[in-house]
């Protein structure tokens, strides 16, 4: 009788040690990944959702010419909540992989630096498909390790988050990138797709904030 109890207890202890290492860390949800790819306060009066494809040259242009200024002048002051949405286009062979890496980086708390790196090295990884190498050449080694761990351990969740954004874009008739949706006081307005000049976007944002 005592030996049976010892066997059962041993098995229970072994299970308690082994099972967590098998299951690994908790799986990320789509909502968590969306939040990780968003910048600013959710209480901001304006929400800007940007559907983009990391292999899209106009998305790169938008990012460099407009997005950073929006972050500096509107997001940081709590006027705009900026949400990134992935919309990899079928014409770009590596954009879905890039989106997965971006989501992995976002989960590791490295969204902005990785987004900057992806656009900075767009031509390089766009030609070879070697996104990991391109990111590794820009991100610090410690950060790259974190991104790699996320990419390998949460791959299904990352792909699910990308697909959720694509499904959302399809439901809104997004057909190209970049596509921007501006939501203010519950009303969502799609902007003409394509890179948007910061000056024109600023005029519109200022108008909305005055209302």
């Amino acid at each position: 009788m005592n030996r049976s109890w010892i066997r059962v207890a041993s098995l229970a202890v072994a299970a308690a040690l082994i099972v967590p290492s098998l299951t690994g860390q908790a799986k990320l949800t789509v909502a968590e990944l969306t939040a990780a790819k968003s910048i600013g306060s959710r209480q901001a009066p304006i929400t800007l959702e940007v559907f983009s494809d990391y292999q899209c040259p106009d998305c790169k242009r938008l990012h460099s010419a407009t997005t950073q200024q929006v972050i500096d002048n509107y997001v940081s002051s709590g006027k705009v909540y900026l949400v990134h949405r992935d919309f990899p286009l079928s014409m770009h062979p590596y954009s879905r992989q890039a989106a997965r890496w971006l989501n992995a980086a976002a989960a590791a708390g490295l969204f902005q630096s990785t987004e900057n790196a992806l656009y900075a090295k767009q031509e390089e990884w766009g030609a070879t498909g070697n996104i990991e190498q391109a990111l590794a050449s820009v991100l610090p080694a410690a950060d790259m390790r974190k991104v790699r761990v996320m990419e390998s351990s949460q791959r299904a969740q990352l792909d699910a988050a990308v697909q959720a954004d694509v499904n959302l874009g399809n439901s809104r008739n997004v057909s190209g990138t970049p596509s921007i949706f501006v939501t203010h006081r519950g009303q969502m307005t799609p902007l003409p797709a394509g890179s948007v000049s910061y000056t024109l976007l600023k005029q519109y944002l200022d108008y909305l904030l005055q209302r």
Binding site: P57, M91, Q187, T189, A193, V196, L200, Y204
Partner: protein, 165 residues
């Protein structure tokens, strides 16, 4: 002495007149619809902020400085609406048809330029069903032909009315 028989309007002239009337009405309707589409979208009227959205679309042609983009975005929809209504009503046809033709020529030049430069109007990398400058060019060529015909017709009928009886 027997009265002179009435001068009958020739059959071809009548047909031409009907065709021009149809062309004028169609062109007018298209212009009115174009104005409507710029002022009413996303299920609501945007009479106070249509110009901000439209300006972004105009800017994608990369032809004009931003001050001109903003001004054009403000006035163009109302200009289209006025031209459309005047065309249908047949008021000031020579002027209205000429201005409409000139507008279409300018628009076609912008489209052609975008097609040649490979500009993706309103698009960075579009998927299927996207706006294609070349396709728009073909459609607007048809509109321009109609506008030209209406313009020529307007001047011809004005000249015919001024001829002594």
């Amino acid at each position: 002495m027997a009265a002179a028989p009435p001068i009958a309007v020739s059959h071809p002239r009548r047909i031409t007149g009907v065709l021009l009337l149809v062309g004028r009405a169609a062109l007018g309707a298209i212009l009115i619809f174009a104005a409507y589409a710029k002022l009413h979208f996303n299920g609501a009227w945007h009479l106070r902020d249509y110009n901000f959205i439209f300006a972004i679309g105009i800017d994608s042609y990369q032809m004009l400085p931003l001050w001109a983009v903003s001004w054009l975005a403000l006035v163009l929809p109302w200009t289209e609406l006025a031209l459309g209504l005047l065309l249908i009503a047949g008021i000031g046809l020579r002027w209205v048809a000429s201005i409409t033709t000139a507008l279409l020529v300018v628009f076609m030049i912008a489209l052609a330029r975008a097609a040649i430069l490979g500009l993706a109007i309103n698009c960075g990398c579009f998927g299927e069903g996207s706006t294609n400058p070349a396709r728009e060019l073909i459609l607007d060529s048809v509109l321009l032909l109609v506008a030209l015909a209406v313009t020529v017709g307007a001047f011809s009928s004005h000249r015919a009315r001024r001829l002594p009886a």
